[in-house]
Symmetry: C2
Subunit: 370 residues, 2 copies
């Protein structure tokens, strides 16, 4: 397929980091109306570097929706099946937002900044409009707005080494999914121990967009001997680490139970939320399909542009592969896909129709053993 | 600035036309989670071809929100200051959707398919979420969903010649902003006399995505001697024709009055709508800035990545250029921008700060004379 270059215009919002993150960038996507880098050197070179060193990621596209006001806690509670009352100030929770039918609207990280103040840190859909519409319609007493806060991320095994040079050794003590409000190079930031890789790291929420380059340069300078360089969420790494991508692995047509996101919440919280009746009915009845980790036989496959159809023994369509990539470390194609619940046990086999032809496929274990 | 190529994944929805529209495509953007072509040969060559011949545009990114049900008319009425009750079945209206403060959510075309059934044909924001949220919150008895309908467009002076070969001469009689439901190459389509250029043409709403390539090929074959080719909304042409772009020329931070969209509706319709109080207060008080057509002196300028600041005589910031391009036909830089209401008369001068330095700028007439 022909790969056109990206046209820039004001409609693609400016990342505070783009003067640095566009340098040497080979490919990118657009995510929440911002450019999301996807490859610097090569998918594989970026992957190995991320596993061995430390990278700076421009993830300004993870835009924030701020919810503030007397009803803020009740309203955020209303958006998700997860029990938000158990999220303390200084804590982040990962949770799906759902609609009235249980369809997934987004799978954000929610940061509780104060009892009555939250940032919803988004995957790729305009949740600002969803939240504003719902809050206005239901009459919640909240302000819902875009606070113009942009995250960058430090990911890789040397992340703590790098960040401790800038913020002191105490940052090593920050617990997983906790955050602190602090300053780097004179600019106020929120630093969370989170990030879209399995290699460890931090996300830094920049509140003064004009300081983006200074923040980036400060971190780059501090890590020179650590081989720090620009990087980005890596397709190989994120699949290996089991990280789902909204729009790829689940959409509004999927519910959190079939996507396996129910491991992040317990059905039956006391507070009211949109979609409760639908979600409880789905749980009661049981889902028909479930997202599983898959191995695809044969030569390296390309990540699907559309879903790849999965066929059962009789050639009938039974499911679909949503993401796939060749892992140079595991020496096999790995991916995610939906299969009927009675075909989800480890080792269950089927056939997937890729553009390069039919391939055997089987359900992998959580660590990709199969 | 470095221009990376676009990475494709399932998260960028597939246009039914992309097997054709990606051929020879040099640059593109992403719009409503789909690829929007921006240049085939060169901005200027595409421009002249569009003005002289006829082009097929993949504008599948103009996604639809369908509103259906007993409250459909009341709900669509609630979304916009324009009087929807005057829109007949078979008619399209262009109108802003606004929020509670009068900010512009989107500037769609609304097609009335039946008394109780509408398509909202979007510019670049997830109005599906906005409309679902509001309808759920306010308890409107409607279904709000994505009908999986994708538009392509035929634009250019030979559009009617081309389309009449496929649909017969009656299609020449279709009035501006009217549509008909018909069939092309055996696939049901809605054909509207609309489109995002000033060169005349039609938009064809495809209801069976699998027939996209057939539809495209049928039109391409019918127009071979008319020099039909793939094209796309053209920056030069759309600015010359005075067409505003949501995200570029207006955002949620702008109201329809300052953006000049109030020429498409009359304040004071009888039906209730969101933002009425705010919009009437703005009208009462008067806007501070207004969007105007501008000429920028000197060598060709690049379309702004961010807004270009406009300064007054004393060097103070008074406004901003939102879009700009060099017109090879008018032999000057033309664009849109916001200026204080007392500096909006034709010929009013100011200075704009472009990356290439300060330039004189003046307010143009509607036909760009100045």
């Amino acid at each position: 397929m022909n790969a056109p270059v990206i046209s820039f215009s004001r409609r693609l919002r400016v990342s505070p980091f783009e003067l640095r993150s566009l340098e040497g960038l080979k490919s990118a996507s657009v995510y929440n109306h911002l450019v999301l880098p996807t490859c610097y050197e090569s998918l594989e070179a970026d992957y190995w570097h991320l596993r061995e060193h430390v990278q700076l990621w421009d993830v300004a596209c993870q835009v924030q929706v701020e919810v503030q006001g007397p009803d803020a806690a009740n309203f955020v509670e209303y958006l998700t099946p997860r029990d938000v009352s158990r999220c303390q100030v200084g804590q982040c929770i990962y949770t799906p937002l759902i609609d009235e039918a249980g369809g997934i609207i987004n799978d954000p990280l929610i940061l509780r900044l104060a009892d009555d103040r939250f940032w919803i840190s988004l995957s790729d859909s305009d949740v600002l409009l969803w939240a504003k519409g719902l809050a206005l319609g239901k009459g919640f007493d909240v302000r819902v707005f875009d606070p113009n806060v942009f995250p960058m991320s430090i990911q890789g095994p040397k992340s703590a080494d790098l960040l401790s040079r800038v913020l002191g050794d105490s940052i090593r003590e920050l617990k997983f999914f906790r955050f602190v409000e602090t300053e780097i190079a004179g600019t106020p930031v929120v630093v969370a121990r989170t990030g879209w890789s399995g290699q460890g790291g931090y996300e830094i929420y920049l509140q003064e967009p004009d300081s983006g380059v200074t923040l980036w340069d400060t971190l780059a300078a501090a890590g020179e001997d650590l081989q720090v360089r620009a990087g980005c969420p890596n397709l190989i790494e994120r699949i290996e680490s089991g990280l789902l991508s909204y729009g790829n692995d689940m959409t509004l047509d999927n519910n959190p139970l079939e996507a396996g996101l129910d491991r992040f919440f317990k059905l039956g919280k006391s507070a009211d939320y949109l979609g409760r009746a639908a979600l409880e009915a789905i749980a009661e009845e049981g889902v028909t399909h479930r997202l599983v980790k898959l191995v695809i036989a044969g030569e390296p496959v390309a990540n699907p542009r559309t879903v790849y159809t999965i066929q059962g023994a009789a050639g009938e369509n039974i499911g679909a592969v949503t993401s796939a990539v060749y892992s140079p470390r595991l020496n096999q194609n790995i991916g995610f896909g939906y299969l009927p619940v009675d075909s989800c046990e480890k080792g269950a086999r089927a056939v997937v129709l890729t553009p390069e032809g039919a391939r055997d496929l089987w359900v992998a274990d959580n660590d990709w053993s199969s």
